[in-house]
Assembly symmetry: C2
Homo-oligomer: 113 residues x 2
DNA sequence: TATTCTGGTTACTATTGGGTAACTACTAAT
DNA sequence: ATTAGTAGTTACCCAATAGTAACCAGAATA
């Protein structure tokens, strides 16, 4: 969940960390990328996330304007998610994190599975 | 604390999030910046962090190679912290987050305190 | 002699995060 | 009549996180 103190901070950077500074949100944003994706797909692709937590995180990301939720009035239900302009603008930051990680984590990767 | 599953993931991005994807670490790295800073200063500057948690986070950041801890054999004790090359390389990412936040959070800031 | 200074550590406790399993709605297919 | 399928929600529970307060060393200062 979001940290209320962080989100209400007078410091913009702290507020930003309150918004995206947890373990699941960067993962979710990264998996979504530029595509439109359904709830069930996210649940299947992201390892070890429960539907409960996925629901919570998606709801917060929507509230914070990072993604859009499009629910079709069908049965069985269908819900699409896609990143908003703000969410898309966050993707380059995730790419920078990947580069950073790659640069300083040269060793290993040999016996990883 | 670090998430073991994330840190042992086969996905480098997930490992990166396991390393820096929590609320305190980006804050600490940002406060440190390019300077050398003492434990007590960090404790005083970072709002609402307890010494216990600060100690834990600093220890993990050191283990993950993001910062260096320099303890002087003095009394009363003196310990300096400063970012390593890896930690310094993370600063531009934090700057990008600030820009991103600034771009999409234009409104308000009027009655905030 | 008592206090201050620094960078912690420890024990205890409260709060939160997150996992599991069961359940829902409604239609279509078997 | 039953089952499958989707996107959740709900209740329950356990483990992890973080906060608080007390304590430590050992020299310097009052």
């Amino acid at each position: 969940m979001r940290d209320e103190n962080f989100c209400n901070s007078n410091c913009p950077f702290t507020r930003a960390i309150g918004t995206i500074g947890n373990k699941w949100k960067p993962i979710i944003i990264n998996v979504m990328g530029t595509r439109t994706i359904r709830f069930g797909q996210l649940d299947a692709i992201i390892p070890n996330i429960s539907r409960k937590v996925l629901t919570e995180q998606l709801k917060e990301l929507e509230e914070d304007g990072l993604l859009e939720r499009i629910a079709y009035k069908e049965l069985p239900p269908r819900v699409d998610y896609k990143l908003s302009e703000k969410g898309l603008a966050f993707l380059p930051i995730l790419e920078a994190i990947k580069k950073w990680q790659g640069k300083f984590e040269k060793i290993e990767t040999v016996n990883s599975n």
